[in-house]
Symmetry: D3
Subunit: 321 residues, 6 copies
Amino acid sequence: MTQSNSIIDPRYRGPATFMKAPASRDLAGARAAVLGIPFDCGTHAFRIGSRDGPHAIREQSRLMRPYNPELADYDTISHLGLVDCGDVDVVPGRIEDAFRKIEAATHEIVRAGVRPITMGGDGSVSLPQMRAVAKCHPDLVAVHIDSHTDTNPFVEAEKYNAGTQFTHAALERLVDPKSSFHIGIRGTTYRQHGFSYVRSLGYNIITINALFERGMRDVLAQLHETIGDRPVYLCLDMDSFDPSCAPGVCAPSWGGFTAREGINLFRGLAGLNIVAVDVNTVSPPHDHMGMAAFLAANMMYEATVLLCRYLGLDTVEDVVP
Amino acid sequence: MTQSNSIIDPRYRGPATFMKAPASRDLAGARAAVLGIPFDCGTHAFRIGSRDGPHAIREQSRLMRPYNPELADYDTISHLGLVDCGDVDVVPGRIEDAFRKIEAATHEIVRAGVRPITMGGDGSVSLPQMRAVAKCHPDLVAVHIDSHTDTNPFVEAEKYNAGTQFTHAALERLVDPKSSFHIGIRGTTYRQHGFSYVRSLGYNIITINALFERGMRDVLAQLHETIGDRPVYLCLDMDSFDPSCAPGVCAPSWGGFTAREGINLFRGLAGLNIVAVDVNTVSPPHDHMGMAAFLAANMMYEATVLLCRYLGLDTVEDVVP
Amino acid sequence: MTQSNSIIDPRYRGPATFMKAPASRDLAGARAAVLGIPFDCGTHAFRIGSRDGPHAIREQSRLMRPYNPELADYDTISHLGLVDCGDVDVVPGRIEDAFRKIEAATHEIVRAGVRPITMGGDGSVSLPQMRAVAKCHPDLVAVHIDSHTDTNPFVEAEKYNAGTQFTHAALERLVDPKSSFHIGIRGTTYRQHGFSYVRSLGYNIITINALFERGMRDVLAQLHETIGDRPVYLCLDMDSFDPSCAPGVCAPSWGGFTAREGINLFRGLAGLNIVAVDVNTVSPPHDHMGMAAFLAANMMYEATVLLCRYLGLDTVEDVVP
Amino acid sequence: MTQSNSIIDPRYRGPATFMKAPASRDLAGARAAVLGIPFDCGTHAFRIGSRDGPHAIREQSRLMRPYNPELADYDTISHLGLVDCGDVDVVPGRIEDAFRKIEAATHEIVRAGVRPITMGGDGSVSLPQMRAVAKCHPDLVAVHIDSHTDTNPFVEAEKYNAGTQFTHAALERLVDPKSSFHIGIRGTTYRQHGFSYVRSLGYNIITINALFERGMRDVLAQLHETIGDRPVYLCLDMDSFDPSCAPGVCAPSWGGFTAREGINLFRGLAGLNIVAVDVNTVSPPHDHMGMAAFLAANMMYEATVLLCRYLGLDTVEDVVP
Amino acid sequence: MTQSNSIIDPRYRGPATFMKAPASRDLAGARAAVLGIPFDCGTHAFRIGSRDGPHAIREQSRLMRPYNPELADYDTISHLGLVDCGDVDVVPGRIEDAFRKIEAATHEIVRAGVRPITMGGDGSVSLPQMRAVAKCHPDLVAVHIDSHTDTNPFVEAEKYNAGTQFTHAALERLVDPKSSFHIGIRGTTYRQHGFSYVRSLGYNIITINALFERGMRDVLAQLHETIGDRPVYLCLDMDSFDPSCAPGVCAPSWGGFTAREGINLFRGLAGLNIVAVDVNTVSPPHDHMGMAAFLAANMMYEATVLLCRYLGLDTVEDVVP
Amino acid sequence: MTQSNSIIDPRYRGPATFMKAPASRDLAGARAAVLGIPFDCGTHAFRIGSRDGPHAIREQSRLMRPYNPELADYDTISHLGLVDCGDVDVVPGRIEDAFRKIEAATHEIVRAGVRPITMGGDGSVSLPQMRAVAKCHPDLVAVHIDSHTDTNPFVEAEKYNAGTQFTHAALERLVDPKSSFHIGIRGTTYRQHGFSYVRSLGYNIITINALFERGMRDVLAQLHETIGDRPVYLCLDMDSFDPSCAPGVCAPSWGGFTAREGINLFRGLAGLNIVAVDVNTVSPPHDHMGMAAFLAANMMYEATVLLCRYLGLDTVEDVVP
């Protein structure tokens, strides 16, 4: 029985890796690995700053503790052998160079049979990750939880930004749009006829209104039925949450998920073969009290539970303390 | 097909009119007009500061973009020919003088056949607006969404403040109380027997508890049935929202609407003949991260959708980008 | 008919006792008494600072007003003869000495037949209070609303902290665990097999997920049936609320109660013989805009309503103003 | 030897009167009395909110402790028999009524031979105080430390606001302008030829630039020589401090006093017969971390030292602890 | 005599142009023009966000009023015929395209004989401005007040960023380095031998330590003697101020100018032929209470005084109000 | 020539050790080592929270860069072979146990001939450090920069707290009080006759007023003359800085050092044989924008320069980049 507690190991002490996982790039023995992607130069519209997202999420993850008695009464970090690989060595400005580095760093993890859990950075960083994951998982589908589809048409001169990553994912055939879902879509956009374009690429759109009208159970059933055991790229843009929960995002939009709704949506994904988790768009300069970063850390923890379940690592020893 | 986007027109650039509508007092061609009313001297109880509300709402409205693919896939600002008329030239302290100026500025808009969308200022500013609107719409009813009825008895020396505007509206017969509604009422007040007095004037009260017990659908049906096509003065006090969504208000009260609930309540008003929209009580010095102001801007956008729908301006061109 | 209003008595004026109740240690004539317990040295895990909780709650309680027309159209403060007894004279560091003082101060109130409404301080302060209350109410049961059970096993050297108070309450037989409830439990902990230990002591656990799956009505029915008219120690840890409502707590956890849910849970306790109310864990240095403190003040007001109802003090005079 | 310390008396505990002085209106035995004046309706220009100033200053004064070993190694509060009289019962809006109440409350203190130390409220509240003080001290002079002279011409309809109090003081002959000083003046104003008008009333102006060019020693010598032992109304507008020290004021202006400069200026006034101290213009909603309020509390403490010195109460007992 | 005041024209009302100057691109009659440059993609090191700088400075400039009785008892805005030209239509990401637009917009002003007062944007935006100014003023010198020289060596692939603008200015011969000054330099950098490189290009460096050791008077004498009446590009990076005054900058560094020191330094430049003023590096997401933006607005006001003086527009009418 | 820059190594990327020094406990080759001491249970008076100080200082140290062209144009971190040893494994509450661990961790560094640079934690943590340092340096003197002497008399039951560490240092003969200095003392305290007690133990007190009256040069000369080459324990309590620079401390006091004054005081210590550096009292929950933590990081950097100078490691290579 693994034990840790506030007396032995106060959370404010020592280096702030994700949930105090070992800082290491050694993937041997790991089933999952955390990777930070401090890149925000795909943010055109308004609030830039997610380059400091990985740092802030690690800091807030200190508030997370290893056991969840109801959900997962075991230490997901140690069951997964999770390591915190640090940050991709991107620099500002050169988006194509950054994309190559992100793709390489992600690919190194995926090809080792390890499932990456990444923290952005803005939404643009999802594209090189999908490129890397698709190399190893040709039948990939995306479950993209966001208030925006990030599937805009583009002009060549500005082809890469935080609004076009799923356009490229479809055009480059990284994911199968017909089995992929944009979930939680709401709010205003820069473009007319946005949904027509998204659907013309083959994607499914489930707006947040549709989700609550149909009921989460119904939507989840559709997902499971459509996707089956195909490998899933799970992408969570933190602006899918309501600004009352996640103020520090790039393009906030009212009417989003409460924390509990978002947590329940994630839990409903249990059973999917999630091969990569991508949590992005925490913008610390626009956050307050680290709320968006703390919620992102919480969702990454929920992802570790999903991985443990799928991988059969959710064993709870019988010893009573 | 009108197009704008983050590349061509980043939201942080240029003057902060409401949603970047033209700054103009020229009402020709306009179906709706935004007007700021920076007056807060009706705030007696506690938190004064809504004089800076119009500025803060304009600033936050920069986060709103023109299209909403699910709700309104057209540019409501341009379809309405909406202009931002700037602020009424009120000064602090002289409430009766301020009321005359507010009434005159509102009347100028209404008598031109244009629907005003105003941003306060505290709740006291609704009275002169109702005086102006009632001149042109004798059969006016009020839909007042608030945590307080603002229908207190008054003493002559203090007849005008942010708690008596709907008392005067009834006594001056500006609205028909029997068809008018106070919706979302909750929380503590300074006075006993408050509801008796409100009902003695003829008003309908739907507390937030009653609303959720009956269900929003049922309440909305009652509103539509009672009001029909009579002209509606739609008044939204931002303290109807929960402090977790709208901290920066004058008299916050826990247990209010979430953003999604408030948005859905507004959407349920579609079909009403809303002739004036009044969003008040954003107090920027008590806000944080501009949350209340941003939510107010969002609700004003929702109001533009309601106006487009009623006026048949909700046409979406067929061209796919 | 008691009257007060914003003209006569603005809330920002004068000393900030709880809801402007008289500052007094004279319990004669009082049915309830507020007591501050500024002690936070049981906070081991992370965010210390609740020593300033009582001050912050009193400050925010200035936003509360005496009447609630729907819920309680009478002045609960004056109907209860509520007095604000100030703070227990605890000092930092010496937890056993502090516990003796807290027990003595609480006992002084309870043995006078007065119901204490206390504001912590961290959760550790509940133990000496339960010791005091149990002396006068041998058949005591606890209703503990929290995201954590605070029923951890302990080592002798660290027996008292903010995670073991309900362990001791069971072991010292201060409350009857079989009729006592931990409600709203969720989130991560330091220990494996936490629930097994809690249940081995006899306690009932109702996680927040179980509560919403079963429905609040069903859970409340179980409580009322189990508890009947036995004396109840009502303990509210403010971290039971979601961080979007109550950011300033010691160990925040996403997915908690909204303000409205928490209020409704409290209202559902009407009819219980609540002999002591304990609201703890507001940590002002980690709060923003006083949100957690304001919500705590609101819940304490809701508690005064519960006490008035049980004691038959909920009389509303018939005079219309 | 009076003693208090952090073990016996932590500052965060108990009611927040000014520096924990007794809350009392009993002036018998007192040589000085603190009075709050929560009125801000003279604030026309921009940032309203100083109505909450007295509350915030009391809260921050908890950080002040009784002894200053270098400056005043005795408890000034107890040596002065200082009492905290609470707040004047002003209400918003009715400035002339408020002025009557402020004058009466101040007069009650002054005519008892007690020296008031008041905390505003905006600058307008100085006028009724000077009216009260001048009744008992006909030869009064003003030492006014501010970034503005608050000596503007006025129109009859707006005669009273936070920019005209020293105009009226001169015209009503409450103070002798020729021996009175505006010190620390700087920054921008609404009016041209402001200094001409001020000087035409007889006042001396010492701009902050003049003060630092001449040197503080030289300026203080002029003050002492001009004023001698005449009774002094000492008025400190907190906006005389730089915004880096006192952000929470109504009309901030860069280039003001640092805390140390302001403290030294006050200390240089030792020997003046200060009969009233008026610290105003703390606006809590525009403050952060309570900085302006904390600095105001500190300056009020410095004033108690000045009073002790002038009154010969600065005796330090010889007992070594 | 121009007059405005708080009664007639409260500062919080109406559109927030710089100090309420007319929003116009019509340069006829103007001697100076304000231009916003919302571009921050030259910020590589850490804190990005100055794209929102122009908006924040305009907002805070509402706190500035037209007259300064000691310094400039006339309305500098109207004496200069100053117009606020809005923002250059830059978009994120494409730095060379942005530079072309900035150069064009600046050149349009300069070639009309108007002196631009610009607000960034990060420091990279100075280069295209110097290109534009140098076209019309071939004998240009730079007075650059900053904590960094922004004169780093560069690699071709990253030639343009917020640390190389004065390198290019020297290499492109836009300014004469031998008569140009970097003033206020302090703190840590990424590179060794930084000063050698700067001096190898010909520039003068006056560190903040050197400035205070020599005395400001001595340094200013050197400047005036060296520069004479040659046209001056006055560039103020707001990080030259101490973080206690200007927290919201890209690369803060302790030990900088206080507000008063910075103001006095500017005033000491009176008499120089300043042909362009460039105030940059306000990063609103990292600011609090708008302090850096408010101080930037204040410095821009000081610049208007410098321009009025040089141009002989500093006439004060004789009429006493 | 060592080089790093924003392109190659942006500061926001990767683990936040102190100034990106290697995270290591391997002291071989190191001349100095950073150690965090996250303990705050000696904080009795008011604002607790410095347990999170080391984390916050590391985070803010990301803003520091390796070279200072004027002061130290070489990489002090690499010249010292500085390692960041992480945090002492203290837990809250058990002060004597914590003291043993702090002493052991410090001793391990000192006995290896390495100079510790520690970051608290509250001031109480200085005592065990002085115990460790004194073991290896029997002739130790203290230079203690603080607004309080922390040399209070104590009662046995509370002998260890953040106000008695220098009392014990004298009584345990860890330092030689006659050659030790408390510098920068100011403000209010809990006790009368504080200075008498401090002097009775032999310490020198230089108040901040005395320092500025005598001049820093004169005070520094006294220090150098008195101390000579004896080993120095350099202790900096961050509350020696003014709250405008360092708001986030436990017991703030107005009138303190500006950043530049504090930096210059440190630089004046060059030549002293500083064998240990102790920077304490950063309380992140009471900080804003990380100001106190950032300034603490800056002072630690200044300490690395002092160490390099004394150790002859201040060599600058001649290569021009």
